[in-house]
Structures are given as structure tokens and as C-alpha cells.
């Protein structure tokens, strides 16, 4: 990574962590993880399960909100404040600006996830009194959640490179919802006739597949995650994010900023 991208990423990170909304969202996620202890008490024999399910869901959902709402503002805010012109007037390429922004946001999300994960493990320790070996799979689930954020972050950046913040948020969230149904879409394609199958399969490959990145439920049941899944999910998430990022670069390079 060249120094310019590093500087933009660092400044994006600094700007993001200064945002008060971010702290509120993290606080809510921690609160939700903590409340899992109470929910577990009014239920029966599922305290540990509730803590893991609720904690990881909170990390995922709040992280998603952070990814979308910071991601969509990355470009538009710079244009609105006219700071983009100052940056681009220096020897910084447009693609470097986009890639730097992406790494800055991804870094912010990794740090956020780290703090929210501490909350989840804290709640788990409170309920279970000790960690067990299968609890290590929670780290894999958290890693997959981070991969989800990387994809969503790239998608948000892609939309924000040509659209307004509001529309970018709507598009990004819609893609997240559709991405959760990716397997259904593929099943539908398998059932359809030749032409429809081709079209639907094509759409299914273009849309992000987020369902394979969700292992919260199986991890809550202390079921192991295969190394093959970890490897393939990593490769898929990085390649998909890179694709979305390339799309954002292509559009932003041609965008009239006057």
C-alpha cells in the first residue's frame, strides 16, 4: 500500500472515531450484549446460547449500521465540505482516495468489532463463569462478521461514489437484505428453466452472498467451523469487496466533480 493511501486511510479512521454517533452505536451494542444476561434468566436452560446469539447479532447489526452510515458519507461529505478538491489538487489519484477511504472505514470497523467483542466475551464470562474450548469458534464468527462489514463497506462506498447519501443507504441496506437471501435465489435458479436459470444465476453471482458468512447459530451451539469454509469465505469476501471497490474507482474516475 502506498503512503498516500495510508495517509487517507489514517485520516478517515481518525475522522470516523471522532463521530459521536459511532460511540452511541457501540454503547447500544454493548448494552444489548449485557441485556442478554437478563433475557437468559427469564428463559430456560439457554443462558449461554442467548448471550452468544444476542451478542453476535448485536455486533453484526450495529456494525452493519456503522458500515452503511459512515460508508455512504465518505465521498459525499468530502464533496459537500469541498475538502475533496484540496485533497485531489495534491498529487493524489482518485483511485487512491477511494481505496484509502475504504481501508480507513474497514479499520474503524475492525476496531469497533474488537470493542464489541470484548462486551460479548464479558457477558459470556459472567454467565458461564469460565471459557470453554468451543468458545473459540466465537472468534471465527466475529471474523466472518468483519468480512461481512468489509463487503458492506465496499458496497456503501460503491454507491456513494455516484449517488446521494440517502439513496446509497437504501441501496446498501437492500443489498444486505438480498444478500441474506442469496441461497434462496440460487435454489430458485436451480428450479427454473434454461433462460430464467441463466438470468437468475447471473443475478445471484452479482449480488453478495452474505448467508454463508453467518455462522452465529452454529457457533452458539458450539459446533465447529471447517477450515475450508474459513478459507473460502475469506477469499470470497476479499474478492467481492475488491470488485465493488474497482466499480467505485471506475465510476469515481469518470465523475464530474465540478
Amino acid at each position: 500500500m502506498n503512503a498516500r493511501i495510508g495517509h487517507i486511510a489514517y485520516n478517515t479512521f481518525r475522522e470516523a472515531v471522532r463521530d459521536r454517533v459511532l460511540y452511541n452505536l457501540i454503547a447500544f451494542a454493548l448494552l444489548l450484549s449485557g441485556s442478554a444476561i437478563l433475557v437468559g434468566q427469564i428463559s430456560m436452560d439457554v443462558e449461554r446460547l442467548v448471550v452468544v446469539n444476542m451478542g453476535l447479532t448485536a455486533v453484526s447489526l450495529f456494525g452493519l449500521v456503522i458500515a452503511i452510515f459512515i460508508g455512504i458519507q465518505l465521498v459525499s461529505k468530502e464533496i459537500e465540505r469541498r475538502t475533496l478538491y484540496t485533497v485531489l489538487s495534491r498529487p493524489v489519484r482518485r483511485w487512491e482516495f477511494i481505496v484509502g477511504k475504504f481501508f480507513g472505514l474497514a479499520g474503524t470497523l475492525v476496531v469497533n468489532t474488537f470493542f464489541m467483542a470484548i462486551g460479548v466475551f464479558g457477558a459470556l464470562l459472567y454467565v458461564a463463569h469460565k471459557f470453554q474450548k468451543p468458545d473459540g469458534w466465537i472468534l471465527v464468527a466475529l471474523y466472518f462478521i468483519v468480512l461481512q462489514f468489509v463487503i458492506i463497506c465496499a458496497i456503501a462506498l460503491f454507491f456513494s461514489s455516484f449517488s446521494s447519501p440517502l439513496l446509497s443507504a437504501v441501496f446498501s441496506f437492500s443489498l444486505f437484505v438480498i444478500g441474506s437471501f442469496a441461497e434462496d435465489l440460487r435454489r430458485f435458479a436451480a428450479m427454473a428453466n434454461t433462460l430464467t436459470r441463466w438470468v437468475v444465476s447471473g443475478i445471484a453471482y452479482i449480488l453478495p452472498n452474505l448467508s454463508s458468512l453467518n455462522v452465529i447459530s452454529s457457533v452458539a451451539h458450539q459446533q465447529p467451523v471447517s477450515a475450508q469454509l474459513i478459507l473460502n469465505n475469506t477469499a470470497y469476501a476479499l474478492l467481492y469487496a475488491a470488485t465493488a471497490l474497482c466499480g467505485a474507482v471506475l465510476i469515481f474516475e469518470r465523475r464530474n466533480l465540478k
Partner: protein
């Protein structure tokens, strides 16, 4: 006192007063609408639709529905309403959302199966729930145990209970007592051959002396019963064979006299 401070103080006092007032009225409303609770309503009854709507967070939703099922059963059980219409759908939604939530099958079946006031009196729904659980978790012996227990205790279907206990007893991690239960049920059902086989297996599997003694006592009982049955059969055959000879001799005697 400054005007702004007066406003702050008044607003704070009013806030507390209004909050208390609303709480009092809410309590009154609860008294009026005793049975009108939201928990009695299932807005979405299709488990599959809910699974789709969960957007992958079905584990958490399953926990929420499991908690709802417990609260629903607990409340109706406590107030002895005798109405458990929503219990089976709640459990079905829970287990569709998380097919590996073992606790929902085990406890859910024991909420559903017993006759009121102890349960919902729906043993058929309990069996359906456990069969789905076994289908989803075929290596879970506790589910076989629960299913066998319902056949044994609630339905008195000893043959089926024995079949289920026997199927569960061979799984890894199964409690050894399942073999005993399978043998006992087979004996109750009158399936002497199966019972004998299962008791022999119990005798061989268990190192504990008291269990072996129990198995031996049952085997002795079965052997005695088999002896009695075979003796009865022989006697009956003998009687049917000798009956004609006996009648003919009696007729001959009458003619002579």
C-alpha cells in the same frame, strides 16, 4: 431564583409526576384488560416465513420464541387457564428457526404431552415435535428418551416406547438406563422375545451388580412365564386330543348302563 432554573425545576417535577400518573393508569388498564395480552397473539404463524424474515439472525429469534413459549406456558399453567392453543405453534416456530435447540424439544414436549392441568394435553403434537427434533438431530439420544417416555407414560404404547428406547440406546452418549427402559416396555407390551433379548443385553452391558440382578430377575420371570405358557399350550393340546376319546367312552358307558 433565575427564570431558567424555575423552568428546569418545574419541568423536572412535572416529568416525575406525569410519569407516575401514566404508570398508575397503566396498572388500571392492566386490571381492565386482564386477558388482552400481546403474548396471546401470533402475528406470523408460518415458521418458514419467520426464518426468511430473520435475515440470518434466526438463532436469536429462536431464543426469543423459546422464551415466549416458556412464558406462555408458565403463565397459563400458573393461572390454570387451561388454554394452550399457541404453545405448539410457538414451539414449532422455535425449532424451525433453530433446529438444534435441544432444550426446546425436550421441555416443549413435556409441556405439550401431559393432560391438563399439568400440560397442554397434546401428546400427538409433542410426538410430532420430537420426531422433527430426531430428524434434525439424529445423534441426540435425549430426544429418543423423551419420545420413548411420552409413548410409555402418556400413551401407554409400550411396543412403540420400547422401539424408540432401543433405537436411542445404541447412540453414542446414550444413558445406559435406556436399555433397561426398552426391555421393560417390551415386557409390558407382551413382546417376550424382544424383552428377553434386551434384558440379556442389559445384563451383559452393565457392570453394576444391582442392575445385573434386576435384569436376571426379569429374565427369570420371562422364562417362568414362557414355561407356564408352553405348559398351558401343551395342556390345551392334550385336552383337545383326549376330549373326543373321553366323550366316546362316556357315551359307551351310558349305553351299557
Amino acid at each position: 431564583m433565575k427564570a431558567s432554573r424555575t423552568i428546569t425545576l418545574t419541568a423536572a417535577v412535572l416529568l416525575v409526576a406525569f410519569m407516575l400518573g401514566s404508570a398508575i393508569f397503566l396498572q388500571r388498564l392492566d386490571k381492565i384488560r386482564t386477558k388482552a395480552t400481546l403474548d396471546e397473539v401470533l402475528y406470523i404463524t408460518s415458521p418458514k416465513a419467520l426464518k426468511r424474515m430473520a435475515l440470518g439472525y434466526d438463532g436469536l429469534l429462536a431464543d426469543v420464541y423459546w422464551t415466549r413459549a416458556i412464558q406462555y406456558f408458565g403463565r397459563n399453567h400458573l393461572f390454570e387457564t387451561g388454554r394452550y392453543d399457541q404453545l405448539a405453534p410457538l414451539l414449532e416456530i422455535t425449532t424451525t428457526l433453530d433446529p438444534h435447540l435441544r432444550v426446546a424439544y425436550e421441555f416443549g414436549a413435556f409441556f405439550l404431552a401431559p393432560a391438563p392441568p399439568n400440560g397442554a394435553g397434546m401428546p400427538d403434537r409433542a410426538i410430532r415435535l420430537l420426531e422433527y427434533g430426531i430428524q434434525q438431530n439424529p445423534q441426540e439420544p435425549k430426544l429418543f428418551y423423551s419420545l420413548g417416555f411420552i409413548y410409555y407414560v402418556e400413551l401407554k404404547d409400550y411396543a412403540k416406547a420400547s422401539e424408540v428406547f432401543a433405537a436411542g440406546s445404541v447412540l453414542p452418549g446414550a444413558h445406559p438406563s435406556m436399555k433397561v427402559l426398552a426391555a421393560t416396555c417390551a415386557q409390558h407390551a407382551g413382546e417376550s422375545q424382544t424383552a428377553r433379548m434386551l434384558w440379556i443385553m442389559t445384563y451383559k452391558t452393565f457392570p453394576e451388580e444391582n442392575v445385573q440382578a434386576n435384569a436376571l430377575a426379569h429374565l427369570e420371570f420371562l422364562w417362568i412365564r414362557m414355561d407356564i405358557r408352553s405348559s398351558s399350550c401343551r395342556m390345551a393340546r392334550f385336552e383337545s386330543r383326549t376330549r373326543t376319546v373321553f366323550h366316546l367312552s362316556r357315551k359307551a358307558c351310558r349305553r351299557i348302563t
